[in-house]
C-alpha cells in the first residue's frame, strides 16, 4: 500500500493515487450485478453479439415500420427476382443519392416466357421515411411511412430479392424475425416457470417428490426432442388459425424445454443449502428469509440467467426445424423456418440462393445467444478478475 500522506509525492502523483484509490473503492463496494455488468462489458465478442441481437429485436418489434412492404405483399412484376443492390453510379453517370435501375418486361426469345430485364435508362431513388403501405406499428400506431424505400410509391425495391410469388424477402425476413424471436422468448419463459416450479419442488421437498420428479425428467430427457415436438405439432388441427398455431407452438416448445433447467435448479438448491456460507449464516442466527434472499438467491440467479440465455438457441432451432418440415408454423405466418421451407432443395441453392438469407439470421441469432451466454457465464463467475 502506498501512503497518500507521503510528503515526497508531487501533487500530480497524489491526484493519480487518489484516483486509483477511488476506483478501488468503487470496485470493492460495487454490487454483484454491477460487477457482472463491468466484466461483461469487457467481453468484446459478447458485447458485439448483444448489439446485434438488440438490433434484430428492434427490427422485429418495429417490423411494420422497418420492412418496406408487408409480408404477403406481392410484386408480380418481379417474381423470383435477385437482390437489387443500391448503387451510386450507372452508365448515365453518378448521383449522390443511391438508386436502382428500373426493370422492363421482355419475352425470353427461346421460351417466350415473360422475364424481367434491367432497364438502364430508368432510375428510382432510395430514401428514408418514404410513404408506402398503411400499417399499424406495434399493432396500434397507424402510419404509412417506412424506414426505407423508393421515392416513387409505384415502384418497389427488393434488397434481398423476391420469392416465387414475388414477395419481398427482406420484408418477410424482418417479420419472420419477430415471430421467431418471440416464439423463443415465450418458449423460454414457459419452460423457465415450469423449471422453477418443478426443479424448485424437487430441491425443496426432496425425498419421494424429488425421486418422482427425477424419473419424469429422465424420461423427457431421454426421448429425442425434435421427434417429440413433431408428434405434438402434428396433433394441431389443420383448421387452427395462425394465432392458435403460434401459441400452440410456444406451448409445445416450452412444455418440454424445462428438464435441463429444472435439473440445474434442483442441484443448485441442494448444493447451496449445504454450502459453508449458508450453514454459517444459519448458525449465526439469520432468518430463513434473509438466508434465501441474501445468500442463496444471489449465488444462483446468475446461473439461471446464463442457462436461460443458452437455452434460446435450442428453442429457435427447434422452431425453425419444425416449420421447415411443415410441422410448425404454417403459411401465411412467416418465421425463419417457414421462409426456409421455400429453400428445401438443391435447385433453390442454384437458382434462388437469396431465399437462404433468413438462414443467416438463424445462424447469427443462435451464435449471438451462445456468445452472450458464454460472456455472461464468465462475467457471473465471482472468481474471475475484473478491473
Amino acid at each position: 500500500m502506498t501512503d497518500m500522506s507521503d510528503p515526497d509525492l508531487t501533487p500530480k502523483q497524489k491526484r493519480q493515487l487518489e484516483k486509483e484509490h477511488q476506483q478501488r473503492l468503487k470496485y470493492y463496494s460495487a454490487s454483484q450485478w454491477t460487477l457482472i455488468w463491468w466484466r461483461f462489458k469487457r467481453h468484446r465478442a459478447a458485447m458485439l453479439a448483444a448489439v446485434l441481437l438488440g438490433l434484430m429485436a428492434l427490427a422485429g418489434i418495429f417490423a411494420e415500420f422497418v420492412a418496406p412492404y408487408g409480408p404477403v405483399t406481392r410484386d408480380t412484376k418481379y417474381i423470383e427476382g435477385p437482390p437489387q443492390i443500391p448503387k451510386f453510379c450507372d452508365d448515365n453517370g453518378c448521383s449522390l443519392r443511391p438508386f436502382i435501375n428500373g426493370t422492363k418486361t421482355e419475352r425470353d426469345p427461346v421460351t417466350l416466357r415473360a422475364i424481367s430485364v434491367p432497364d438502364p435508362d430508368t432510375r428510382y431513388y432510395i430514401s428514408l421515411f418514404v410513404k408506402g403501405e398503411s400499417v399499424k406499428v406495434l399493432g396500434f400506431i397507424p402510419t404509412d411511412r417506412h424506414l426505407i424505400g423508393l421515392d416513387d410509391p409505384d415502384q418497389k425495391i427488393h434488397f434481398w430479392g423476391t420469392d416465387d410469388l414475388g414477395r419481398d424477402v427482406f420484408s418477410r425476413t424482418i417479420y419472420a424475425t419477430r415471430t421467431s424471436l418471440s416464439i423463443g422468448v415465450l418458449g423460454v419463459l414457459i419452460s423457465f416457470f415450469l423449471a422453477l416450479a418443478i426443479g424448485g419442488a424437487a430441491g425443496f421437498f426432496g425425498g419421494m417428490t424429488d425421486n418422482v420428479i427425477q424419473r419424469v425428467t429422465e424420461v423427457i430427457r431421454v426421448v429425442p426432442i425434435i421427434p417429440l415436438y413433431m408428434g405434438l405439432a402434428a396433433a394441431m388441427p389443420k383448421e387452427w388459425s395462425t394465432t392458435q398455431v403460434y401459441f400452440a407452438m410456444t406451448l409445445i416448445l416450452g412444455l418440454f424445454g424445462w428438464p435441463t433447467l429444472a435439473r440445474r435448479i434442483r442441484s443448485q438448491l441442494l448444493s447451496i443449502r449445504n454450502e459453508d456460507y449458508v450453514v454459517a449464516a444459519r448458525l449465526a442466527g439469520a432468518r430463513p428469509r434473509r438466508i434465501i434472499t441474501q445468500h442463496m438467491l444471489p449465488s444462483f440467479t446468475s446461473f439461471i440467467i446464463v442457462d436461460l440465455v443458452i437455452s434460446f438457441p435450442y428453442m429457435i432451432l427447434s422452431e425453425t426445424a419444425l416449420s421447415f418440415v411443415g410441422l410448425g408454423l404454417r403459411p401465411p405466418s412467416v418465421s425463419w423456418g417457414v421462409l426456409l421451407q421455400q429453400a428445401q432443395s438443391v435447385r433453390a441453392i442454384e437458382q434462388t440462393p437469396w431465399l437462404f438469407i433468413p438462414a443467416v439470421f438463424v445462424v447469427v441469432a443462435v451464435l449471438a445467444f451462445t456468445v452472450i451466454g458464454d460472456g455472461l457465464r464468465d462475467a457471473a463467475d465471482p472468481y474471475s478478475e475484473a478491473k
Binding site: R215, V219, V222, P224, I226, P227, G231, V362, L367
Partner: protein
Amino acid sequence: MLRFTLERLIGMAITMLLVSLMVFIIMEIPPGDYADRYAFRKYSGTGVNVTEADIQAIRVELGLDKPMIFRYFDWIGGIVLRGDFGQAFAFETSVVKVIGDKVWLTTGILFATLILTYLISIPIGIYAAVRRGSAVDYGLTIFSYLGLALPNFLLALVMLYFANRWFGADIGGLFSAEYRDAPWSLAKVWDMLKHLWLPAVVLAWSAVAYQIQTVRATMSDELNKLSVTAARARGVPERRLLIKYPARLAINPVVSTIGFDVNRIFSELPIVAVVLGLTDLGELLLKAYLDLDMNVAGAILLLLTFAIVFMNFLSDLLLAWLDPRIKLGA
C-alpha cells in the same frame, strides 16, 4: 459387476415403461382415432357413405372402444409379447412390415455417425488441449460455435449441393437407383456404404463440435493434474505420458455422453432425412406424423428412444469398466 448390470437393466425397464406411457399419450393426442382416419382414407372419394355406425364397428373390431388404459395395455402388450406394433393404416399393412429393414438402415446411419464423431472429436480435442491458445485451437473454437449454430438441414443442403457438384448427381439418398428396390446383397451393402458418408457427416457435425469442446476441456483439466507432473517426474516419455495419463481420462466424459449423442442424432434425423432423401426411420416418422399414422409414429418414437436408453445402459457399463472409481454394485 453382475449386480451393477442388473440394477441398470431394471432402471432401463422402468424408464422404458414411462417412455411408452408418454409415447402412447402422444399417439392419442391428435383429434380423431385410428378408426376415423382408417375409414376416411379407405372410403373418401369412393362414393361410399360412411356412417358413424360403420366407424364404431371398426372401433369395436379393433378394441378401440375400450377405455384408454386398456388400449394402452393392448398396445404395449402386443409389442412386448408378440412384437406387434399394430396396423399402419396409410400403408394398409402392419407397422412391423412398414418399418422392416429401415431399422437396420437407421442403425447403420447411427453407427456410421457415432464412429465418425469419435474418430474426429477425440484426437482433435486432445490436440487442441495440448496446443492451447494456438491458431488451431482458436479455429476449433470458432468451428464448434458454428457446429452449434448452423441448423443441420441447412448444412445438409449445402453439403448436398457441393456433393452434387463434385461427385455427380446421384449422391442423395441411401442407394443408387439400381439398388433402391433390389433385394439385399453384398453389392447393395457396398452401395449403401458409398452413400452413407454424407448423412454421417451432416449428423456428426454438431456432435463433433460438442464433443471436441468436452474433450478439450477435460483434457486441459487433466493436463494440469499432479499425477501428470508426477509421471513426468518419473521419466515417462511425453507421448506415452499424454496417452496413458490425461487422454485416458479425457475420454470418460465422451463415453458417459454416448446416449446424449444418440439422442442428438435421432433428434436431427427426420429433418436431415427430408433434405438428403434418406429412406430411413426418420423420414418414415415425419411421413407418419404428416399422415397422422400414429401407430407407425409411436412405434418409431418408441424404437428410437429404446435405442437411446440402451446406449445409455451400454455407456454406463463401459464407463464402469473404464473407471475403477465407479463402485460396482453401489
